[in-house]
């Protein structure tokens, strides 16, 4: 017995230790999990170490806005605490980390989780646990379209298909005889856009003369093959449904091929600094068309805009954030909506009430979005932002064209 005794004792110590670590504190009187008299706890998973780590700054910008609100006294006296975890853009990490946020950190809601794949991996769990999964950072159309299957999950930014509908409208209105070539990323993001464009063109879908895919894991320098083929197909209009780096590469390659089609760039990659990158790589991008819904921090026309001034004040709270990076104003803008929802909930801070407001009762003006755009949801419409404006690139900057286009109700 003397032999085994110490080992049992060691085992007992181990169990006590793990039990002590694992047990939750809890016990505070609150309206719902994650809410105390003076705090609201939100959780987030984002990529800080994987292939999409350049988006990591979004969470820092969101944190900067919460810090700004907390310095103003918080939301009805409650300070927002924001826990951000790194999932490396790997769904296999997102799931345990999200469970940790919900069950150990006891967050009130998950806010701004990044990426279609990682967020797809956790939505069944969050909906089953009835934890709000608010304003996921992905424009996949399914978040709003399949809302009835996951009533605790909501997107925020305009869906890719809706954006592509606007391009189709622009083509049909202004370039009726266009021969369209499409370069798209072979994943849900690229295909969402392609579907939106095809649907939007409707009976004129045959205007698309060729479409070429590339793989996001191997975009480097090899886009020449796809682009040469598109050029060879006789297309005079090019759609680039690609993430930033391949977009920059593609713009430069198009010019290097001696091709000058009318070019459409999607909103994920139309950041002004990236367009300038492409220009210094030799691309001739004047006349390129895209859409915008958010103010571009590098655009001089907003220099004296109140929303932009507020953005600069807010982003100063983040030492690692580059104020000119479009991801950061995105983060601040979506955090603004989050705070709006919390304010609107007033004293009824329950998960159910929050998701009700966010998914059916939003009617907000957001100072960081283009003038005229409202963040809206109703009992039958769960796409918060559905308005965008066509922009055209000339003399080193995007310029707003026409008026705001409403896509509401176009996605069925």
């Amino acid at each position: 017995m003397t032999r085994i005794g110490p080992r049992l004792a060691a085992a007992a110590v181990f169990f006590v230790f793990t039990a002590a670590c694992g047990g939750s504190s809890g016990g505070t009187v609150a309206t719902d999990v994650g809410i105390t008299n003076d705090s609201i706890l939100l959780g987030n998973t984002i990529d800080q170490s994987g292939p999409a780590k350049s988006y990591a700054t979004i969470a820092s910008a969101e944190q900067a806005y919460f810090t700004y609100i907390n310095n103003q006294g918080g939301v009805n006296g409650r300070k927002i605490k924001f826990t951000v975890l790194d999932d490396g853009y790997n769904p296999a990490q997102t799931l345990p980390l999200t469970k940790q946020l919900v069950e150990q950190n006891q967050v009130f809601a998950i806010f701004g989780g990044l990426g279609t794949d990682p967020q797809t991996a956790v939505f069944p769990y969050l909906n089953q646990q009835k934890v709000p999964q608010l304003f996921v950072a992905t424009g996949a159309t399914k978040w709003g379209l399949d809302y009835s299957q996951h009533t605790w999950t909501l997107g925020w930014q305009p869906p890719y298909q809706g954006e592509a509908h606007i391009y189709a409208k622009d083509i049909l209105a202004n370039h009726k005889s266009a021969k369209i070539g499409v370069l798209y990323q072979n994943d849900d993001y690229g295909k969402d856009y392609l579907k939106g464009l095809t649907d939007g063109l409707g009976s004129n879908a045959s205007m698309i003369v060729d479409k070429e895919a590339y793989d996001s894991t191997a975009p480097v320098s090899t886009l020449a093959a796809q682009l040469a083929k598109l050029k060879g197909s006789g297309a005079d209009t090019l759609f680039i449904f690609a993430i930033p780096i391949p977009t920059i590469t593609a713009l430069a390659t198009v010019t290097a091929l001696g091709w000058s089609p009318l070019t459409y760039v999607n909103s994920v990659s139309n950041v002004a600094s990236y367009m300038k990158f492409a220009m210094s790589k030799g691309a001739k991008v004047d006349g390129a068309i895209s859409v915008g819904y958010i103010k571009d921090p590098t655009d001089p026309q907003w220099a004296n805009d109140d929303g932009m001034k507020l953005y600069k004040t807010v982003i100063a709270n983040c030492s690692t954030c580059d104020a000119n990076n479009g991801f950061n104003i995105y983060g601040v803008a979506v955090a603004y909506t989050m705070v709006d929802v919390l304010k609107q909930a007033g004293s009824n801070l329950t998960r159910a009430n929050i998701i009700r407001i966010a998914s059916t009762d939003l009617n907000e003006t957001n100072p960081f979005l283009l003038p005229g755009i409202k963040v809206t949801t109703t009992s039958s419409d769960h796409f918060p932002i559905m308005q965008e404006q066509v922009i055209q690139w000339s003399s080193g900057a995007w310029h707003l064209q026409g008026s705001i286009i409403d896509e509401r109700g176009t996605i069925k």
Partner: protein, 363 residues
């Protein structure tokens, strides 16, 4: 001192570990059982890699691809053909094992370096290949699987033991993974201590000498590939059930790399090594980001530096340091320290008999 002098033989340690693993879910919140299930699953895959790399001396930088095959086999069988999920686990293992055997044949002709390059390329190309047969694999959107319900008897038994709520699916999958881990580790222990294990080590140390002493070099090397892939396939199957979702992004190149890191940190050619490796492979990236920032005693600046540097730096540095200073991995380090301690405390008598402590490399 008296207790140390009577330090237990190895099998008592094994029993202790098994008892702790069996009791673990009763002591921790259910989501942590899910995390530990992932640890066990990684251990199984690492054990597979260990059989190949540690024992047969063939290198693979592409074991994540084998996990992907296993995971997709399970996901497709459950989702498209409504096969009972438990039945898919051995099927996924066999399917992957078959692929491993087939790949083992060309691998025979490759030098270590070329095998490393070829398997690396396999890991890189697998996510793109998965995307292609869309109707079958769900393309880039992947396949969602419902979490399996634990059977009634397990739910009741768990509730009776803990006096708490019945067993949930995370805890159930933990026990399934634990069962698979114990079975596969026991199997590996048996294979590797017997004739096949000796043959593999002989091949690893000198192929020519092994062939000269009548060992079927080609046969054993192909077999090692197949068995190794079988382990990775089982791990992949459990992985897809646990995460409830498979997509090309779930099997990035870095997964293969994580498995290799786990095998090396745990200790190549060691039976307990993969378990240690699994613990590290799962917790290191999570803790290198989280733990440091929650420790008050670490100055904020250092914590920020550590967090910003991310797990990649920790991974890389550890890998290099271990290869240089502890080529037998942590398990090797602990075992040799333990053996030294034992022989020291047991007195000079045992030492002078000239019996060297068993080399952890060969146990």
């Amino acid at each position: 001192m008296k207790y140390l002098r009577q330090a237990p033989p190895r099998y008592l340690l094994v029993i202790l570990v098994v008892v702790v693993l069996v009791g673990l879910p009763t002591q921790i919140p259910s989501f942590q059982s899910g995390e530990w299930a992932e640890v066990l699953i990684l251990s199984i895959a690492i054990m597979g890699l260990n059989i190949l790399v540690g024992y047969s001396g063939q290198i693979s930088l592409g074991h994540g691809a084998f996990m992907a095959i296993g995971a997709y086999t399970t996901a497709i069988l459950v989702h498209n053909y409504h096969v009972f999920y438990l039945a898919t686990i051995p099927l996924a293992g066999l399917m992957t094992g078959l692929v491993g055997l087939l790949l083992g044949i060309p691998a025979l002709r490759l030098s270590a370096l070329y095998l490393a390059l070829a398997t690396f390329a396999l890991a890189v190309v697998t996510p793109s290949l998965i995307k292609r047969p869309e109707a079958f694999t769900g393309g880039v959107e992947g396949i969602l699987l419902p979490p399996p319900e634990p059977p009634q008897f397990a739910q009741d038994a768990f509730a009776a033991v803990t006096g708490g709520p019945p067993m949930d699916s995370d805890q159930w999958l933990y026990y399934i993974s634990l069962g698979a881990t114990l079975l596969l580790f026991w199997l590996a222990w048996n294979i590797l201590r017997q004739r096949p294990g000796r043959a593999l080590r002989a091949i690893r140390d000198s192929e020519a000498a092994a062939a000269a002493s009548g060992i079927n070099v080609a046969g054993y090397k192909i077999l090692a590939f197949g068995v190794s892939a079988f382990y990775a396939g089982v791990a992949g199957a459990l992985f897809s059930l646990l995460i409830g979702f498979v997509s090309p992004d779930t099997f990035p190149v870095s997964l293969s790399f994580t498995l290799l890191v786990g095998a090396v940190i745990g200790g190549l050619a060691s039976i307990p090594g993969p378990l240690v490796g699994g613990i590290f492979a799962f917790w290191l990236p999570i803790y290198s980001g989280q733990w440091v920032s929650t420790q008050d005693w670490i100055p904020a600046q250092i914590a920020t530096v550590f967090k910003n540097a991310g797990p990649a730096v920790t991974y890389g540095a550890l890998l290099i340091l271990i290869m240089i200073f502890a080529p037998n991995g942590l398990a090797g380090l602990i075992l040799s320290a333990y053996t030294r301690l034992r022989s020291r405390l047991r007195g000079a008598g045992e030492r002078t008999t000239g019996q060297l402590p068993p080399d952890p490399q060969t146990v």
